[in-house]
Amino acid sequence: MNIPSSIVTLLVGIFVTLASLWYGQNHGLMPVAASAEAELVDGLFNTMMTIGFGLFLLVEGALVVAAVRFRRKEGDMGDGEHLEGNIPLEIVWTAIPAVVVLGISIYSFDIYTRMGGLDLMNHNMAPAEASSSVQVAYAPGEGDMPLMTNAANATAEVPAILVADATAGMGAIPGTAVGSLLSIDVKGLQYAFIFSYPNGIIDGELHIPVSQPVELNLGAQDVLHAFWLPEFRIKQDMIPGQDTRLVFTAIREGTYPVVCAELCGPYHGGMRTQIIVESPEEYQTWVDSRLTAMAAGDRTIANLPKAPADRSELEYLNNFVEPMQLAIAPESLAELQTHHTDYSPADYPHAEHHSLEMGS
């Protein structure tokens, strides 16, 4: 049986292509895609998996074939053929990877732009008006929910500090109705996320309506944290002294984890909460119920995570005495706590429910 090598090459090529195309779509390695951004990222990931798996098969295959076909026979003291290289072949395997990585770069760049990554390009170079400059991670401008312009952004009810950036006005896809951007402040502290909604609600969990762009203004109170939504494929560090920002659009209702992804201390692994994506009606119901409770004098932060094992509930909750304070270091926190020495456990009636009276 003597198959010409060109046919073998062809068959191998077909097999590798089919196998990688199949694997690129069926790896099943990503969690459900719950945001518009996630679908974009998954497209990129699948492409890279296809190429990567093909390369994997080719090179590992070549290694295995070489190991079998070119093993030294017992007692053979001779040398292999004297082949110092092959310039055309070397050019090919320099050029092909170069083209491939260039392609992936361009594709990534495109995805990044469509996710809104370049949207506020000039922000960071613009002189910051407020004490901290604002960093934009995302502002999606995709599909039927195109992005508002930055000018629109500036007129929307965003915190003043954002306005300076918004005037930078880079590359956003116009069209989103003014004010459609729900803007939520998120503060990271050891070991919880505190969400402050526009209408004064403060919560330990993130509620958002589906299919509506949401803006998160991220800050950290003590050390670095990172705000990660695995099902949304977005992540942004929370940096003390420098606000950062994430904009995304949920496309699937459900409850998903919110994870801290930057080492922030021993209980970093426990720094998690949930994001609850609801229909606009359900979201409104939740907002109303919280507003009613607040009107009735309930000033608690709901759904704070449990205290780590080695700390008392009080020690833990002390961190949250004033969640939106601008304090950024433990020293200032300690100072703050001395102002509240008159507090006694009795002042924390909801402690066992992991809720806490806010302000003072």
Binding site: F56, S105, G117, V136, K235, P330
Partner: protein, 559 residues
Amino acid sequence: MTVTTAAKTPASDVPMLLGNERKWTDYFTFCTDHKVIGIQYLVTAFFFYLVGGSLATVMRTELATPAPDIVTPDVYNGLLTLHGTVMLFLWIVPAGAGLANYLIPLMIGARDMAFPRLNAIAFWMIPPSGLLLIGSFFFEPPTAGWTSYPPLSLTTGMLGEGIWIMSILIGGTASILGGLNFLVTILKMRVPSMSLTDMPLFCWAMIATSLLILISTPVLAGALILLAFDLFAGTAFFNPTGGGNPVVYQHMFWFYSHPAVYIFVLPLFGAISEVVSVHARKPIFGYRAIAYSSIVISFLGLIVWAHHMFTSGTPPWLRMFFMITTMVIAVPTGIKVFGWVATLWRGKIAFTSAMLFAMGFIALFLIGGISGVMLAAVPFDIHVHDTYFVVAHFHYVLFGASVFGVFMAVYHWFPKMTGHMINEFWGRVHFALTFVGMNLTFMPMHELGLMGMNRRIALYDPQFTDLNVLATIGSYIMAVSTIPFLINAAWSWRYGPKAPANPWRALTMEWRTLSPPHIENFEELPVLTTGPYDYGLGYIAEEDPAELYEHAVPAPVAG
């Protein structure tokens, strides 16, 4: 394939010294012989590998269950920080330096390094640096990870963090002195007949490594000194409380630490180029491409650092710039991998332990390289940054390439270093266990990261338990795999069959002197007669002259 000499010492003869004898006590002294220093580095580094591996085993045991039960989260972070720091600064860097020290002068026909005293000083900085670091664990372990980002690193305890900084400053200084020495030695001390393109590829790789060390390590030192000021003097370079900027630290840290990953792996890129060629008996495929790609990697390696900071406070244009440079670095790296595979192709592959580790190296490094290109793509990296996907990626590179590379090098040069052949059967067992254990430990971590498991955590979501159990089992297999190696190396060093000068019939110069080499390396400086990889041209490596051994006493056992 093990060639052994039948030459035995006739007991009746008057012992004659060959001039390559060393007392074992020499290895515990301030000795300026590069060969002694090389072995000192390697043995010390291996000791720290065992330390780092033990720490990893405890960590994996803790991670077998979602709850933080075996050790407290605090202790876990201490283990994590020490594991990372020990593995990088006390195992891989010194192991690479050890190989370079041992091999460079022999490969280029020099009698020693350019600055022998400096060389000894550099080595003797490693033990204090390591002891400091390990000592810190018993007082107040540093717990901010090997990256030690402020502000966290400023809040976790002054003593531990201070010791950590001190230890790395000492280790970094040693590394700079070493790099300087390698560079000058390679450039200035070759035998006159050897041009740069006649050098073994290991020397090219060490030029690239040394350049990186010299350019980037001082920046790390700067960052750490500023961090120490923040820590002890209350300055606010990086401390946001006083108006400092923690992101600046990250830039400075990665300005060193990305090039550092090439410092960890380039020496082994060099070593594998020697091994595949010799054990497949074929010239290295594309000598110039492999040589120059090392230099290109070392240049590009300096301008990719911010790919570790895609989710930090990094402006969009910066993200795009660093994405493209990182992608581009895949090209010279690919050239090397393809070159090694093509060298094997149509060779005569001997499955020595060295060759097995070399093939494992290529197979695993490929996986780390593919995931590396994926990580360069900003939109994807934003999802997996700081997750187990990254842990999987860098272990495929650091373990799959660097550690496999060190073992490969040890099996290959063991006869030269010790004068004894190492047992091949146990070498293969070592390889099989390591290879299986490595994949079982780190392959599942890709999926864990993609699915949502963040790194550096002592407690995790129970949905991830199964894959973590798998990883823990793999780590136990790896822990076991070091046992055959340890016993084999120690036993063979003492009792292994006497090694001839050139057991692999190799053409590079280190094989043209005794095993172990003369104290002065060569009795008479060799003259270049063949290129380093001229297999297949009919050159036959010289056999040891029989009279060499006739009157000789066996070289005393080292160590």
